[in-house]
């Protein structure tokens, strides 16, 4: 009767060795983390270009970045993932075909990273842009006055100086990145959420696996929170009091 309740306590299903599904879950978890890290880094790179493009770029660059960030932030991630996942790779392969190259084998991991990275990029752009704007203008002017080249100013002054302003936003984005990986389940990529469903489907122990996955996600977010706070404290060491 209370089969699911009984299953709740059946932790044997979570064992690492078959017939336990622990290994599958952990593999999915690892895939989630890989995608989260990858897409986050990609998003940051896009964000740096986007933010500098929006702030210092020419009129055309500014408009193009504006279109990118507006569109990406207005469309649900789920829809973007489907669009980019199918259309993106399809389009890329067609383009390569036109150019006379063979079709590129884009595996699920890479596709997932690229798709989520493009989404993250739009948000990173906004976070970094706000942070750069928060740097007192004089700091950049001082760098110019000492003969630094534009690229060096970006590398030595702008990016490190904006960090304390950007970190809260970037921390949130990381949390979003870890959770958005779950959306790749809908394109059949076996990350933690889909692995959970496969395990649950095979064993019918839905509660057990969903709760186990929830716990894994929570651990990740808790651990991330601790690390983010550490980084934030370090980055703020040059600031007197809270910003």
């Amino acid at each position: 009767m209370n089969e699911s309740l009984y299953q709740l306590a059946n932790l044997g299903l979570l064992a690492l060795e078959p017939p336990g599904w622990g290994a599958i879950l952990l593999k999915g978890f690892l895939a989630s983390i890989q995608i989260a890290v990858g897409s986050y880094i990609l998003g940051l790179i896009i964000g740096i270009f986007g933010a500098t493009g929006k702030l210092y770029g020419g009129v055309v660059a500014r408009d193009l970045w504006e279109i990118y960030t507006t569109l990406v932030r207005a469309v649900p991630e789920l829809v973007l993932i489907l669009l980019l996942y199918y259309a993106g790779t399809d389009g890329l392969n067609r383009l390569l075909g036109l150019l006379g190259y063979g079709s590129l084998d884009i595996n699920g991991l890479l596709a997932g990273i690229i798709v989520l990275g493009v989404v993250q990029g739009a948000y990173s752009t906004e976070v970094l842009r706000g942070a750069i704007k928060a740097i007192p203008g004089g700091q950049i002017e001082a760098a110019r006055a000492y003969g630094m080249s534009p690229f060096m100013i970006l590398r030595r002054i702008t990016l490190p100086a904006m960090l304390p302003y950007a970190l809260p936003g970037l921390g949130n984005l990381w949390m979003v990145a870890t959770k958005d990986t779950a959306l790749l389940a809908v394109v059949g990529f076996t990350e933690l959420t889909l692995a959970t469903r496969q395990a649950a489907g095979a064993t019918k122990a839905y509660m057990t696996f969903f709760l186990a996955a929830g716990l894994l996600y929570l651990m990740l977010s808790f651990f991330s929170g601790v690390v983010i706070r550490l980084i934030e404290r370090r980055a703020r060491r040059g600031m007197a009091g809270p910003v």
Partner: protein, 237 residues
């Protein structure tokens, strides 16, 4: 070396045809079929799970090269993709809870909520034949979810491939329910059996696969691995 092709499975479990086991391996009748066909056709097959919902776009955008996913050969699908010859064919059944007595007919299903998997022939069939009478045709992304909701009492009946239903009824969760009968045939919708999905321009591959299916039927390996799963002839008439 052998030509490499990517065999697309639905990533969601569909026992006894394709499902993941606890060690992370894909197992089931269709996995063995794919292996046998690939071996016969000298193809290097790579199993590539994709979402059932996007399996046709995955094929057309070359993420996979063939679909081995219990996909019935229908007119509608043939407009978009191509199929090999059929490799099995089974009747379509309807199951419901044991304490709920009804037949697999439009009258029997009057007022009932019928669960089907999306973009299957069952969805089309149920919509056409039961759509007016039934309380609701509820669509699920995976067969597994439909079964689960039947057990949870959120639908009254599930229409699907009789074999897949049989596997569910035999499982622990399926103890709630029994087989209510097979639906009346409708070739136009239910099609001519299940084939391997292919892109339209893949004529050479299609020839190879057809030859391989014929060969494993002839040399008995088809029957060998089928026996492990079924006590009847799944190839059908």
């Amino acid at each position: 070396s052998a030509e490499q092709i990517k065999v697309g499975f639905a990533a969601e479990p569909y026992p006894p045809f394709t499902s993941l086991d606890a060690s992370g391996k894909w197992v089931g009748w269709e996995v063995e079929l794919a292996d046998a066909v690939c071996k016969e056709a000298k193809l290097d097959c790579v199993i590539t799970p994709v979402a059932w919902d996007g399996i046709i776009p995955a094929l057309t955008s070359k993420k996979i090269d063939v679909i081995v996913g219990s996909m019935s050969i229908t007119e509608e699908r043939l407009k978009t993709i191509d199929f090999s010859d059929k490799y099995y064919n089974t009747p379509t059944g309807i199951i419901g809870r044991k304490d709920d007595k009804f037949d697999a007919t439009p009258e029997g299903l009057a007022g009932k909520i019928v669960g089907v998997q999306v973009s299957t022939i069952h969805q089309d069939y149920a919509t056409k034949h039961f759509g007016d009478k039934a309380g609701e045709i509820k669509e699920y992304q995976t067969q597994d979810e439909a079964n689960q909701d039947l057990a949870a009492g959120r639908v009254d009946a599930v229409q699907a491939d009789a074999i897949a239903l049989d596997a569910f009824l035999k499982s622990e969760a399926g103890a709630c329910c029994d087989h209510k009968g097979n639906v009346a045939d409708d070739q136009a919708i239910l099609g001519k059996g299940v084939g391997i999905g292919l892109r339209k321009d893949d004529g050479a591959l299609k020839e190879k696969l057809n030859a391989a299916i014929k060969a494993i039927r002839a040399n008995g390996s088809y029957d060998t691995f089928s026996k492990k799963y079924f006590d009847f002839d799944i190839y059908g008439g």
